[in-house]
Symmetry: D2
Subunit: 141 residues, 4 copies
C-alpha cells in the first residue's frame, strides 16, 4: 500500500488537533477552511481578551495566527512545530471585532517551511501580519 | 513644577495597567518586579492554556512576553505601543510549569525602544526569547 | 503654495539617494521601477558576493532588500529610516543569478511603516522574503 | 575510531570557510575569537560601504552579523545554514567606525540552533542586535 495514501487528510488532522486544543477552543476559534498548506480561521474579540488600553491584547492576534500556522503546516500529515515567528501589529483591535486569519505558504522544504498569516477585521482592514518558520518532523499524524 | 516629577512612578503605572488588563489577569500573571525600563513576571501553566500537542500553546509564552514588554516600555511614564515583535520557541512548555519572563532594555531612543524578554521555566531552562520594538508616544500616563 | 506640491517626486528622490549610495552602486543595483510606496530593483550575483559555501552571502540578498525598502519608504518625500528588519532565506543563490526585489507596502501610518520585499531569481523562484519596519521622520527630501 | 574525534576543530573550519568567503574578505572582516558556538569579528567601515544618507548601509551590519552567526554555528563541525534572521538597527554607523560583532548561543538543539549577535562600535555603543536561526545538517566539514 502506498505510504502517502496512509497519511491522514487535512480536515481529519485539523479536527483532531482542534478537539484537543484547549486554548484555541477558549479563544472561540472557528476553522473557515483547511487544505494542504493553507488554513483560514475566524475569532470574535471578547472583553476577557482586552489589555490595559481596552483594546485586544497583542497575544490574541498572535495566538490566532499561531494556530492558523500550526494547522496549515500540519495539514500535510507530518507533525510540524513552530520555531521562529514574528508579528507586526498594524491597527488596534476593538472589543467585538471579528478577526479573520488567512495563511499563505511562502516556502515548504523537506525540513522547514515558512508561512505568512494576514489578519483582517470585519472591515477588511489588515490589523496584523505574521510570519512563522516551522520544523517539519517525520512523525505522521 | 518640574515636568519630570509630574510623571507617574513605574509601580503606579503598572498597577493601573494591570488592573484593567483582563487578559493578563486571566493568564494569572504576577508582577515580580518593575523599574524604569525593566519588568519581570511569572505565570503558572494551566490546562486551559494547552494546544493540540498537550503542551502550552505558543500564544501563551508570547502573551506573557508581550505584557512584560508593555510594562517595561510604559514604566517611564509615556504610553508606548508594540509595533513589531518576534519570538523563538526553544523548548516545550508543560502543564504546571511556572514560567518567568524578564525584560532587558536593548535600546531606548526618543521615539522607539527595543526590549528583549527571556522566558525561563522552574528549572531555569530558557524556553523562549522574545524581542519587541515599541513606539513611544508623548501621551503621559 | 500647497505644502504637498513642494515635496520631491519619487524618481527625483531615488535618483538623489542612489547617486550617493556607494554600497548599492558597488552591488550593481538597477532600479526597475519606483512609485510612491513601491520599488523594484535588480542585481546580478558576482563572484565577489559569494560566501564560504560558494553561494551568495546572506548579506547580499539582505542588502538588496534593504535598499528596496529604503527607496519605497522614502519615495513619499520624507526621510525614513529602517528600525527593524527580518529576512527568511529560502533557496541558495548561485553566481550569475539575476535577482529581482519587489516591495509591497503592508502598512503606512503617520510615524511608522511596514514593507515586505520578495526576492526572486531569473527562474521566478522565490529565494528570500524580507519584512522591514521604518520610522517616518518629518524631514523632507 | 571515535566519530567525534574525526570532526574538524573550530579554528580549522573557520579558517577554511573564511579563505573561500569572498564577500567577508571584501568587507575586511577579522576573526577575533572562535570557539564551539561562539565567534567574534571586527570590521572597519569604509566609504564604499555607505548609503544615500552617508552612513553605513544596513546591509553592512547585517553581513558582519551573518558571517559571525555562520562561523559560530558551523564551529561544531557540521554544516549549518541560516534560515531566518532579524536585525534591529539602533544607532547610525559612521565612516571609519570600527565595529565588533559578538555571538552568543541562545539554543542548540539537534536540528536547529538560535544565536544572538550584538554589534558595538569603538565606543562600546550597541549599534545593532541580530538574531539568527540555523538548520544543522549532518554533513561534516
Amino acid at each position: 500500500m502506498d505510504r502517502l495514501h496512509e497519511l491522514k487528510k487535512p480536515a481529519e488532522i485539523i479536527s483532531k488537533m482542534m478537539e484537543k486544543d484547549a486554548f484555541s477552543n477558549w479563544l472561540g476559534l472557528k476553522v473557515l477552511s483547511i487544505e494542504k498548506g493553507s488554513c483560514s480561521i475566524s475569532c470574535r474579540i471578547k472583553d476577557i481578551m482586552l489589555n490595559g488600553f481596552s483594546i485586544a491584547h497583542g497575544g490574541i492576534a498572535y495566538s490566532i495566527a499561531d494556530t492558523t500556522l500550526a494547522f496549515a503546516a500540519n495539514s500535510y500529515g507530518y507533525q510540524s512545530f513552530s520555531i521562529e515567528t514574528s508579528i507586526s501589529h498594524l491597527h488596534k483591535v476593538q472589543p467585538n471585532d471579528i478577526l479573520k486569519a488567512s495563511s499563505s505558504e511562502i516556502h515548504r522544504g523537506k525540513k522547514t517551511g515558512v508561512y505568512q498569516v494576514n489578519i483582517t477585521n470585519q472591515n477588511d482592514m489588515l490589523i496584523a501580519v505574521f510570519k512563522g518558520t516551522v520544523y517539519i518532523s517525520k512523525i505522521p499524524w
